[in-house]
Amino acid sequence: MNAVLPAERIARVAGYGFTSAADGYLYRPTSVEEIREILKTAREAGRQVTLRGAGRSYGDANVGAECVVIDITRMDRILSWDRGTGEIDCEAGVTIEMLWRHILEDGYWPPIVSGTMFPTLGGALAMNIHGKNNYAVGTLGDHVLEIDLLTANGDLLTLTPADARFYAVVSGFGSLGIVTRVKLEMKRIHSGDLRVLPLSARNWDEQFEVFERFEKDADYMVSWVDCFGRGRQSGRGLFHAAWYAGEGEDFSATLRPEHQDLPDSIMGLVPKSAVWRILKKFCNRTGMHFLNWAKYRSGRMIGDGKEHIQSLVAFSFLLDYVPNWRKAYLPHGFIQYQSFVPKERAREVFARQVEMQQEARLESFLGVMKRHRPDKFLFSHAVDGYSLALDFKVTRSNWPRLEALCHRMNDLVLSAGGRFYFAKDSTLRPSDVRAFMGEEALARYRDFKTQVDPGGLFTSELARRLEL
């Protein structure tokens, strides 16, 4: 019989959407040496290991039923920072928030940030996250100089972009080993503010037209889509382009963190900590139909086409604007669904996806569109095209219908040559992954997996579901 694990280590961990929860033996090590000990313990107990950063992946990538779960959030030291070159060396549990707070006053900003500042770098690299500037500067992995990878047998490998294995580990959803250290290059900036231009779009044609108009020039582009818009108004929403400001300035007070910190109340009246409770009252089909309509109308009436200044934090981390917003989806949580479609087919696919939701009466409560470019990472999600990210509320009874809807949308995306993103996924099937990855790429993954983790120590519910 296998060795017994300390019973008190058991804990329920969940993906960010609450829909995937599983019990595992949770460890939060502070050093590579401690991780080696934990791997040994797991092996003696006959358990597999699941890796977890800040738990920001929406689905089941950061949970592993009955696994030893290694949470790297206590490995959060910044090892060195060179304000001359913009190179920063960190432990992998450092979050995007820690990063920007550390470098901003020296006139730097992370080249890639997600819509929330809380992911760890380790988690962000496992998913190879992108930002609202993916079409211009690629993914986080494109800005990494070096990583340390702790393999299943305890070896510490240093990988650089010159090594083919680097492109599998980054994007490899934590299935190949533990990234314990990351060295990456920050972007030089001159102001903590961005120039932001909002443009209301009345339909899909206008959405795609504004993305095309600004893609050569804007530093960031993102658009909100109202998934309740029908007929000629299908695809209506609000597009934002943004540019770095303050070129030529040496230092600006806007580079101070206190300029960036988000206010703790809305209009000085409603404490933000209470907003999710209010939002919860609207978190149903009727309420969200109304809120989406109100947002669209107010976007047309207020500020349409008028450039304004916004802090980097306020523009970049929209998801952090309402703390605990995900709790509005309780008790059953929500799933994210994001598909990436080549530019030639994106309009048709997204329009059909929204129609399918409306036919099923399962409209996404939030739709977000972005522009992307392909990259050479093994499990790349990006294409030369667009993505549409959708939030679907899960209820006591809608799961079978919702899952079927997602599967129909998957088929549509695959027929258009599209791809998917594991950080957002809850509904892909193994056949979907084979279809968008291709057998050759999967064979390369399996080869590398066999090399670095021959015993199959690392897994997750996502890896199990997708047979990876």
Partner: protein, 236 residues
Amino acid sequence: MQYKHAIVVGASSGIGLELVKQLAASGCRVAGVARHAEKLEGIPNALPFKHDVTHYGEVPALFQQITKELGGLDLIVYSSGVMPAVGAHEFNFEKDRQMVEVNLLGCIAWMNQAAIRFENTKAGSMVAIGSVAGDRGRAGQPVYNTTKAAMTTYMEAIRNRIAKYGVKVVTIKPGPTKTPMTADLHLRGAMDPAKVAAIILKKSRKTGEHYVKFSHRLIFYVIKRIPSPIFRRLGL
């Protein structure tokens, strides 16, 4: 929501066997723990584990092995129980010790493991099969009554510790049930174990102590309140 992963301790006969069958039929992966685990072979979704509940030292490792093989745990039911025939003037310590070991200490050994797990995961249901026999000390079965009363008190204490985390801590007190344990007693009006098992599963989601029949609840409400000097004279 249906249970997905369950353990039934004392699974090879009586109420325990019925629980395994019903859980398995609902699609739940259920581990049946019993000395005669071979009796569970052939039940789809049921994983038999051979174990004598008086081997307390085996429990922590076996509990972890089972939860690993199940892939999680939502429900544990402790259903092991013995009630050897005891004569009206018999004071047999071996029989008494057997009842304490199986009915009470085995329960504590398994439920302690479940309590540690559920306190940390803040989820799960733990169900102990007590008995109406534990409601009073009666002349016929002094130690059987004692074990069921002690089990009820133990479960109440666990409930007071961890129900606040969302864990369901449940004691079910069946009345006479047609099981191998009571076969020799020729009980009148004994309930069918399948029916009792179905009621147990229904009540397993509600923290507290439950009788399986409303009539039992009424009758034992009264019986529990009869003053001891009067109860002694009733010969119940």
